[in-house]
Amino acid sequence: MVEYRIDRRSGVATYLQIVQQTKQALRMGLLEPGDRLPTAREVVESTAINPNTVLKAYRELEREGLVEARRGLGTFVRATLGTGPADSPLRGELTDWARRARAAGLDREDVSALFTSVLKEHFEGDDA
């Protein structure tokens, strides 16, 4: 079971925070296929946000094929996301790249800006 934390000052839409936190939990293996997401009632009781916001987030997750709603039972995880971050070969390559960037004299902010611009270039239009 995941527990959502809503940051009202983050500037990120509330439903997106739920979507992102669910995906994060999927990536981290905290949620696995078959697991039930908390009901809208449970989420809003602990976060004091509007129930429709939770439903909107769940619909978004459903649209992406990550969860499915079973009438009268709840919303269940269908798929998992990515692979475990620790043992991914991609991570190894990124680590390698970061080491080389540092050696080349780039500081943290330079690397972050560079990474963000590449992300933007390749994932343009993919929201959340």
């Binding site: 509330t14 809003v44 009781e45 602990s46 004091a48 509007n50 129930p51 429709n52």
Partner: protein, 281 residues
Amino acid sequence: MTRDGIALEADLLGKTYGGRSRGWALRGCGFALPAGRVCALVGPNGAGKSTLLALAAGLLRPTEGTIQAPPREHLAYVAQDKPLHPRLSVADTLRMGRELNPGRWDETAAQRVMADELDPHTLVRDLSGGQRTRVALALALGKRAELLLLDEPMADLDPLARHQLMGLLMADAAEHGTTVVLSSHILTELEGACDHLLLLHGGKIRLDGAVDDLLAAHTLLRGPVADLAPHTVVESRTTGRQLTALIRHEGPIEGPWDTQEPSLEDLLLAHLRTTPEGVPA
């Protein structure tokens, strides 16, 4: 009786206390609140929020126009001053809720609000403001109403209780599809919890609609000074050569402007700053 799918509807609603010459607390108000919404009724002090809620609760008669709400059995109302009988105990007050709402009283819902925070034998007159609010909300939620009308419900609560009770209200709305109207002059109290907005100012309705629609219909833009037609300018400010404006856009925005979706607070402040006082409240 209300239309299908509409929990609360007003048409040309007006209310004046003690004669038309004495000024209108509310005038020309029209809106239709869909069932299942959590509606923020916002506006500065004296805007007419309490009058509107009391009219909706059937405690006042409109001076003109109409307001259609569910009958007394199906609505719950918590007045701003949280009136309770001072000499009844907390337990007696809840028992009163059961006695006066036979067949629909939900003790579990009421007890959830109480959350074992209060000794049931305490007399109401010995409660703090926040504790009174808790008892008043317990009465309202125990009634299992279709429409909850709450006048400044969170004003006396500490942040923890506010979060907990707002959570309970939202849970009630999630579980039963209850329509909730919450009034406040502090928006941050309601942001995130509400999906519908009624902005009242000077006795008139200035904004009415689903929060998402309202936000999507407005744009906050910054850039060189230029004519903003055909868009409706809600508020604009010029600093040197730079223009900052909140507009209600008509069609796509073309021009050298930096655009951004406004926050609910941007939207409210812009409307409050620019709407004329209209009728004195």
